[in-house]
Symmetry: C2
Subunit: 359 residues, 2 copies
Amino acid sequence: MTRVHVIGTGLLGTSLGLALRRLGDDVTLEDISPTHAALARDLGAGRLPDGPVDPELVVVATPPDVTAHCVAGALRRWPSAAVTDLASVKGAVLDALRDAGTDLTRYCGSHPMAGRERSGAVSGRHDLFDGRAWVLTPTTETDPAVVALVTAVARSAGSAVSTLAPEHHDAAVAAVSHVPQLAASLVAARLERLDDAAVALAGQGLRDVTRIAASDPGLWTQILAGNAPAVRDVLTALVDDLGRVVDALDELSTSSDAPGARGTLARAIAAGNAGHARIPGKHGAAPTAYTTVRVLIPDEPGQLGRLFADIAVIGTNIEEFHLDHGLGQPFGLAEVDVVPAAAAGLAHALADRGWRLHG
Amino acid sequence: MTRVHVIGTGLLGTSLGLALRRLGDDVTLEDISPTHAALARDLGAGRLPDGPVDPELVVVATPPDVTAHCVAGALRRWPSAAVTDLASVKGAVLDALRDAGTDLTRYCGSHPMAGRERSGAVSGRHDLFDGRAWVLTPTTETDPAVVALVTAVARSAGSAVSTLAPEHHDAAVAAVSHVPQLAASLVAARLERLDDAAVALAGQGLRDVTRIAASDPGLWTQILAGNAPAVRDVLTALVDDLGRVVDALDELSTSSDAPGARGTLARAIAAGNAGHARIPGKHGAAPTAYTTVRVLIPDEPGQLGRLFADIAVIGTNIEEFHLDHGLGQPFGLAEVDVVPAAAAGLAHALADRGWRLHG
């Protein structure tokens, strides 16, 4: 049983309390809003202390713009406790603490890769962190015992813990999260003034590229502003790459010969192949090449259920699954990814059961 | 029964022959390679004529770089036949025909939005066009009877036919297909030199944004080069938008105050919201806001089947479905999108059946 004090009872703080209380940890709660704190308590995230508390670990789960201030306050209030925070950008918090001359021995920043599209205590879930990565960002000043305690608590909450230097973490999320978000948003923004007939040609590729373009502008403004230097660096490199492609397209627009221009285009797509191949697949393992079995699904309730029931009977494990919808047609196209050795058998068995295979 | 002559027996030509022969059309085949033509014949895509043929419609299904040449040849060889082509970019073909002084009365360009990651006659499928959009791009010179004939044949092949002006088509596919491809490729390319610990933080957002980055560089070089002016225009606008974001991030990197910079970021994400909302949902209908029910799936064969069987029993229709995998965890996260009115009932019914809901 660990004594954990949570400052900030929004989505993350409340969810962390709920997760730790599953295991019997003593969780105390604090929020600048007494109403929010009481709500989190009522939801079962922990208790509101009557007097002073003596936590082993203080978790600062406030909005990013007050995180450093709250971390510094927690280090002063509890002179022997470990302190962590959950902000999604780490360098800015650390810089502010250093600028204030804070002793960083008992501080270990962290970032659970968990969230929801809704916020507030009422959206808290005891399983929010289950199976999610939780990155710890200790510095050379951080006491190893503090790292060990934050690791233990993050694992108790259900997360897979890894460790990165703060600037390494910020550069990583710039490349794998913040710049992809901007690219998706601005590709989608190009559709804003397109006419309906043009937008009607959208296929699954566009839907995939722009799915996260539906994200909340307020939240993302905070995230991007908090990681501005790292995002700028990756985005500048992306803009440079796109600029080279624009130049090549410009040459091809004025001369069909345009020596070298096709090479620039081919290298851009090939570099994307190489980068894409590095993305971990299922379970964080090395990327696996799956084989896709495509099945036409009549648009009637229960048809997908029938497909999955048939696949379960056939005994094939589904690695990935996508559902695509044809334009104006009364059926969809299910893409079932399986290990290559299982594909032919699955296709035959599905055809035997009357499914129409496609492609 | 329509007499259709197909020039070029690759994936599209062979698939079209297979599709039309389902309905008893008289399909004759031609390819610069006698081996390829004989293979398509052997696969059932049509017959190889002994002597002259008298087609009502000639379909040019060659690689894009010889399309205009073959269309002009077909118009000369068959002075009363209609001629179409299947190239994915229409303006370049038309320009080349006009430059050669071709009479365009009997020509109607077209673009079936169908393809596979494999090419050649052997990859041909009779259902390749089923449920796919097939865009016709007639000009003011095109005889309406020619448009009617191409429409009828495209519908016979299973497609949903729409009509756009050629330059309108090319601008549309630049925005909904070609620029998204470049953005996905170049976002993925930024991962190429990232270390493993950083790439390990990749989540479903990045996977979605970069899925099509696995596409073939050779094919995409042809497509992009063939639509260079339209792609350049959309890409230039995207680069300008990204440049404004880089400037805002630059200001935020040097001053945490940076008046106006946060507004630029918020407007970029909000414009993405607006563009994303325009993408047609299922069946080409107006976009629908679905509610997502998230279910934890143990990583054992048959679990997805059990989920879908349960959903079928509950009677809820699934609108969209995604499977996400946690990092290093023995389970996945299924995202089941349903109409909002059905979400709460589905969630309760699944929980009753022992499913762990998430978020």
